[in-house]
Symmetry: C2
Subunit: 288 residues, 2 copies
């Protein structure tokens, strides 16, 4: 059976790209604040950028704001990526950015909503509730999870940068003792260690913002094998090269660089996607 | 202007109840796995229990699983609570349990989706992304937020029980130094301290599970003034009296005890709600 990250890695090879195109129909970018306009906005972006996209990432909030009609539009946008994949003969994964997280029976319903009802291939998930709240999203190895680790916003420091001291208890005793031996571990590094051990089916990655390249490097050393979804390049101030330098795996993979406004607000989104892909490739080449 | 917690406290007085009725149309409890069945399930519960409910808490996941139709059903369920409130002449707040949390511009869209599109009065929010991700949900004092603090599931220990050591940085320096003076603070207590300082508009409370009464007592001492939404009584194993003992404020308020399956799966949900309300009242009486 193909795991989510086998699917992603194949697409990365087929399109020679680590670019994830964010589908964020922000009301300010729409001609009118309607679900129809959100759909049109995204379908245009998909049509323009699909050949250069290793993945697409629709942002659930900008659809939910339109209620049931927004939900229909979101489903159509995800369907459109699957249709475009067929046309190109190369499956492009859809990562639904919805940052869900709840106790087990509820998490199961969220997993079904994202993976079955909407047809997404992967989902962003919040780690605050712990392992039993993440597990229902990981049950199907075909479907992936990107666990929030170090987010791109300034407020990420409030919790994620806290030093987690010795004496903590986790469900995983071996891990607790490993963490205890480390001199000073931030909460986001702890999440990275947890994710590295929880990834038993090759379908768990991390969200690490490009706005904190030092944090990205620390997360890479805590989770050397995992894929990272990296938002924050461009509009949020993250630097592409610093992110690649800090986060690429030895095999020149392991990073999915998300760009949303940097492409959607460009005069020519196709050209912007081509250029982002080229910039990433230029950096990758010496390493692969 | 009325704040969210003024609204809630008035309803608590008017119905002499601290009971929050959870609206969780779990597929296993429905005659058929459809949005229609979910709506009927919830409308029946609302009709049966409204006189004894200080609040209703629909669980978003069990509607999202039905896609756009589920979203429509969720909106109709929320509307039904508002209609029932008019009939009773006493406004019953709707707390949408959706555990959202994202960076600022996205959080704004989630806030609009919950408060404007769906018409909820309050929302559960995940604290992992920090203050700037919570703030967009707090802008309208009429609308409330319950921030996840110590959740009712076993895995809550994985992150929430971690000891946050000295040396951490937060956006709030005075708070950092206050926390540093404390001997040993768990992440969930840190979140409680943060929430206590972030609650400048009387519209921020906490989610604290009834399954951990010692934790509930610690959160109460960290956040003496806040309202807590307390899930986990009954099906999840939390004990009602222990929760009340550990969490009630000096004024006999400050706790909203959520019961979902304990009411919805009862032979007579109305009677079950009456009995839960009575048990809570019996415990409260000596204190007020």
């Amino acid at each position: 059976m193909e795991t989510f990250f086998t699917l992603l890695a194949r697409r990365v090879d087929e399109c020679a790209s680590l670019l994830c195109v964010g589908l964020d129909p922000h009301p300010a970018d729409l001609p009118a604040p309607t679900a129809d306009a959100a759909r049109t906005f995204c379908l245009h972006l998909i049509e323009q950028t699909a050949p250069y996209a290793a993945a697409f990432k629709p942002n659930s909030a900008f659809f939910e704001v339109f209620g049931a009609e927004g939900w229909t539009a979101l489903k159509e946008v995800i369907d459109a990526v699957h249709a475009e994949s067929k046309r190109l003969g190369s499956r492009i994964p859809v990562i639904l950015d919805a940052k869900r997280g709840d106790i087990a029976s509820t998490a199961e319903a969220y997993a079904r909503a994202a993976f079955e009802t909407l047809g997404a291939d992967a989902l962003t998930v919040n780690p605050y509730l712990g392992r039993d709240a993440v597990e229902p999203f990981l049950r199907d190895p075909n479907k992936g999870v990107f666990l929030l680790c170090k987010t791109s916003n300034p407020g990420s420091a409030d919790l994620q940068d806290l030093t987690v001291g010795s004496g903590q208890q986790t469900a995983d005793r071996a891990l607790s003792s490993a963490v205890r031996r480390l001199p000073s571990v931030s909460l986001y590094e702890h999440v990275a260690y947890l994710a590295q051990t929880w990834n038993t089916a090759d379908n768990l990655g991390l969200v690490v913002g490009a706005t904190h390249p030092e944090a990205l490097a620390r997360v890479r050393s805590a989770a050397p094998d995992l894929w990272f979804l990296v938002p924050g390049v461009g509009a949020q101030g993250g630097d592409l090269k610093s992110a690649l330098r800090a986060g690429l795996r030895m095999d020149g993979k392991g990073l999915l660089i998300n760009v949303s406004r940097g492409i959607s607000r460009a005069e020519n989104p196709r050209l912007a996607a081509v250029e982002f892909r080229e910039q990433i490739l230029a950096f990758r080449r010496p390493k692969v």
